[in-house]
């Protein structure tokens, strides 16, 4: 295989692996709260990845008026995270539509640096007033395989490289 072609393939594979290591920040994942009343609102909260691992997680919030399916799009949404039963302060993050993949949601990238139990709170403030909800969740130890696609890449890409190598080796012999 000529050097420049080999280099090209290595670059493509490394680039694909590199983008695969970016944390998955899409909406969806696990529903932590479903239509939970929060003052004059009903709040639905998703977290991603599944399971939540130590590191950065996506917390996505949909805000609707209580008792209806009307969306509240102009709220100020703050997500708070605090470890339970061990040292660690309360950290706050503003969730916005811009950070969300699904623009109907408010999303924030929340740092959950240690494994163990965490309390996640969501504050919603809009014209109708203030609402608050929270839930507790377990955070698993940090893992390499947060993204399913990364796992696929880790299996598929070496396999592709092996096939390419085997193919060229067979030709050399043949």
């Amino acid at each position: 295989m000529p050097f420049r072609v080999t280099s090209l393939y290595v670059i493509v594979v490394v680039a694909a692996m590199a983008v695969g290591t970016t944390p998955a920040m899409a909406n969806g994942g696990t529903i932590q709260l479903s239509n939970r009343p929060a003052g004059p609102y009903a709040v639905t909260v998703y977290t991603s990845p599944t399971p939540i691992r130590a590191g950065t997680s996506d917390v996505s919030v949909m805000v609707q008026r209580a008792g209806s399916d009307e969306l509240v799009n102009d709220a100020r949404v703050v997500v708070q995270a605090q470890p339970i039963g061990r040292d660690g302060g309360l950290s706050s993050y503003q969730a916005t539509h811009e950070q969300a993949t699904n623009k109907l949601f408010y999303a924030a990238n929340v740092a959950l640096p240690s494994e163990g139990r965490w309390r996640i709170g969501v504050q919603v403030e809009a014209a109708a007033g203030l609402g608050e909800v929270d839930f507790e969740t377990d955070v698993a130890p940090a893992g390499l395989l947060d993204s399913p696609l990364l796992l696929v890449q880790l299996v598929a890409l070496p396999l592709i490289l092996a096939v390419l190598w085997l193919g060229s080796r067979k030709l050399s012999k043949g």
């Binding site: 899409a26 479903s34 990845p49 993949t101 699904n102 696929v152």
Partner: protein
């Protein structure tokens, strides 16, 4: 435009892995295409609409997995159904209609290409495996098992959310669909393993299964998938209405790709029939000429044909 309409249009899930993967797949196809074109006069064996089909297939995958279709598939069952239909009934046949094997092989360095060619040569295990998987009965069984299996409520619910199982579900949908469409589209040339007549019959089981699933979803009258009981409801679309829409999409628009495929197979069959008729006519004319009956007329017929 309202905020919600804007949100619908701008909610793209641009997963870098998928974007890079699709771009690499399209890039390799065109590198191979150009290499082949350069080596053969007037484009050689390549037909331009193949490239259109391949790119359309890739576009269908992009719409299914990157566009708001993906983003909203977690909120609405009927959007999830559209996503599955795009992968199974639009992307898969279009990719094979793009005859991608030759261009993709030619995108590889020569040594690798020839080596791969040898690995898939007749008599080799990989050839036997591919031959087995693309056997019409095997391919159809895998396709039907995937189609029906993932609609069984417990399995469907397990696959929801951003999980490895969900990725596996999509991979199975696309993978078994590629196997299913292989004998119909016959992208590798050579002798067809599925005649045009058999090809028409080949679509009967998936049509029946899709109709059955579509009818069950439409007339269930209660939510079958618990996942959608927990997601927020929007725009007055209840869980049951959402499910009914999904069933109808599978039932009616989901039949269109099969109908198009059957129409094309029938037209090929008619062309084949015409060719056979001509062959019979030629043979008869030659026979008449040899026997000396209607000598002038027979000779004219042979010349004309």
């Amino acid at each position: 435009m309202s905020d919600e309409s804007m949100a619908l249009l701008t909610s793209w899930n641009l997963e870098p892995e998928l974007v890079v993967g699709l771009m690499v797949a399209i890039g390799l196809y065109f590198v191979g295409w150009m290499r082949l074109s350069r080596r053969t006069s007037e484009g050689g064996p390549l037909i331009r609409w193949w490239a259109w089909c391949y790119c359309s297939g890739m576009a269908a995958i992009a719409i299914a997995l990157l566009s708001p279709v993906e983003t909203f598939s977690g909120l609405f069952f009927f959007v999830h159904m559209i996503q599955h239909l795009l992968l199974m009934l639009v992307a898969a046949p279009l990719l094979w209609l793009g005859a991608p094997i030759l261009p993709l092989m030619w995108a590889l360095p020569r040594r690798v290409r020839v080596g791969l060619g040898r690995m898939f040569a007749c008599g080799r295990p990989l050839h036997a495996l591919l031959n087995f998987l693309t056997n019409p009965l095997v391919a159809q069984a895998l396709f039907l098992a995937t189609l029906a299996g993932w609609h069984v409520p417990p399995y469907y619910d397990i696959a929801q959310g951003r999980s490895l199982v969900h990725e596996f579900e999509h991979t199975m949908f696309l993978g078994t669909s590629l196997l299913f469409w292989w004998p119909v589209v016959h992208p590798w040339g050579g002798k067809r393993r599925l005649s045009y007549e058999a090809g028409i019959a080949y679509f009967i089981p998936p049509i029946l299964v899709s109709n059955l699933i579509g009818a069950l979803l439409t007339f269930a009258g209660r939510p079958l998938y618990t996942n959608y009981l927990h997601v927020p409801r929007l725009w007055g679309i209840s869980v049951v209405l959402d499910q009914q829409l999904g069933g109808l999409i599978m039932w009616v628009p989901g039949m269109i790709p099969y109908a198009i495929a059957i129409f094309l197979l029938v037209s090929q069959l008619m062309k084949q029939g015409e060719l056979r008729e001509k062959e019979v006519e030629i043979a008869a004319a030659i026979q008449r000429k040899q026997l000396g009956t209607e000598p002038d007329e027979g000779a004219e017929e042979v010349d004309a044909l």
